[in-house]
Amino acid sequence: MDFNGFRVVWEGLTGHRGWKPLWRDPDPKPAYDIVIIGGGGGGLATAYYLATVFKEARIAVLEKGWLGGGNIGRNTTIIRSNYMLPGNQPFYEFSMKLWETLEQETNFNSMVSQRGILNLCHSDGQRDAFRRRGNAMILSGADAELLDTDAVRQMYPFLNFDNARFPIKGGLLQRRAGTARHDGVAWGYARGADRAGVDLIQNCEVTGLRIEAGAIKGVETTRGYIGAGKVGVAVAGSSSRVMQMAGLRLPIESHVLQAFVSEGLKPCIDGVITFGAGHFYVSQSDKGGLVFGGDIDGYNSYAQRGNLPVVEDVAEGAMALMPALGRARLLRSWGGLMDMSMDGSPIIDTTPVDGLYLNAGWCYGGFKATPASGYAFAHLLATGQPHPTATAYRLDRFARGLPIDEKGMGAQPNLH
Amino acid sequence: MPDLSPLCALGAFDSRSERFGALRLTEVPDLGLVSIALRKGAEAPAPFGLALPGPGAWAEGATASALWTGPGQWLLELPGQGAADVVGLVAPEAPGCSLTEQTDGWACIEITSTAGAAPLEALRERLVNLAPGTLAPGHGTRTILHHMSVLVIRRAPDRLAVLGMRSAADSLWHALSETAARLETQE
């Protein structure tokens, strides 16, 4: 069934009797050509592109809980391609281009909204670094603008310009960046993959990997053994746990990142704003909630919940940047499980086990990458070759001394 | 004697003092400070006859007082010796130790209460996240206060000293005085 306005009106007039399930709930088959572990954004997008672009058949996505319940179900919905390093920027710009046509392609309104992202700078050095980054963006085919203080004031007059500890000295604006409705993205891919014949299997936890003679044969799950020609792992914060089943240690730590939403408010913040002198970024959802976040808690965790100091730190940043937020109320918080890598950049690569592929290390930036992450992983799974924009995301880049370290923090995941 | 005029940490020639209800905040300009760190295998000295305190504690002596600042480390306070070569003074008293002059590393603000411990406790719980016992009289520690690294010392039930980075003395005074002023209003 195609979704469109006419259908919505028709069903409205006829008592919503014609709607069908968004996806089937198939039982797992004994074997598939390709099994994707993880029914979050990465896994669903991978399956979608495998089936629709790379014309693979016999694909299953195994999800231990509910579809879209990974970090795609708990993030701050920002999409952008404003990276600096050549290993990253073309990939994120590829992702941005996929965002721009996503909804028409999947026939699902994921509410991609190019409202712009403004990164504020507070010193001359920061502005020089932004200039380097903005130029890298333009050189990769993305858009970028460097704003001075007056231009920022014109855009967002309510920011703290006059009584700031760290005065706003300008900002780097990407107008094509913005937000997307995170659940809508997961559901769009899930429905699209299902319609293309992919089996989406919920409540199916992988408990073991069957490896013979250095090659993957299948996966043990809570719903029985499932044979597989190839296995792609896209499990974000659980990457170390799953890969440990194959005896592999990863350059990854799992950390908790808290994010927040305020009560619904009439529109007051048009785009995405990030505060360059504190830990705070904010946008406003179409429902009116301010969606905001800050730094990770900083310690390894699988608990999916954080602690109070970070909540305070984020709120301090909010108040320092936008003193009007004093009377907005925090409504909900949540904790996501982040696969923080040693250089802050992801891994999309083969592994020492034949037929076992890894998509991990997204840190707290996986959402914006969802389309390209899925596409590039599908490319690798289908062709055995990395996608041209993802050639740097190799597992051996640390051994070889080729990190992609946007922040220049080195092998300390909690600083990326 | 050098013919240069020193400034207090708060940037004036004279130290600052202000009263908020039962509390008085006073910048102490002449406190000599020297850090003592035991070298490998050295025995803890007893400078000026003072038994150096254990973890979390502060010991007061006639000439000098000491705060435990870490394993094998103390901060020795020499009241009235702000201008002195404190390392030179302490060296004979602390053999086998590494000494570093810290006098000007810190701004010291003494807080006294004219109404016993209660106003100080009220101030404490709005400034630092330390269990009351951690700051019982005779105790002290380094901790965070409004994003600043500070040493807090409870010298007596009605006396609390806060030592902050000298460069951040203004911010420290702001934090302490604003909190004390609010308490006064609420009284």
């Binding site: 799992s254 699988y302 | 380094r142």
Partner: protein, 90 residues
Amino acid sequence: MLIPHPLLGLRDAQEFTYLGDASLMSPPPSDDPEALERHVHLRDNPAGLLRELWFHEQGDRSWLVVTRDTRTHEILGAELATDIRREGAR
């Protein structure tokens, strides 16, 4: 969070700076570059008990080895890193 400092008792974790897996304090010999590279970059990242390094930066400046369950955040103990390192050397 509260960290049970072996000398100072329970202290607010905000006084501490986190580093990570305590294995970082035991690098392999420098004549094995590959082992050293793995030491710097690879982690067990367990979902369960983890021995980890915390620096009491806003306290007594001790590095501690804290044993903590990464699933529940329960802390089972904390020791001075110097003590552990010296014992290990013996």
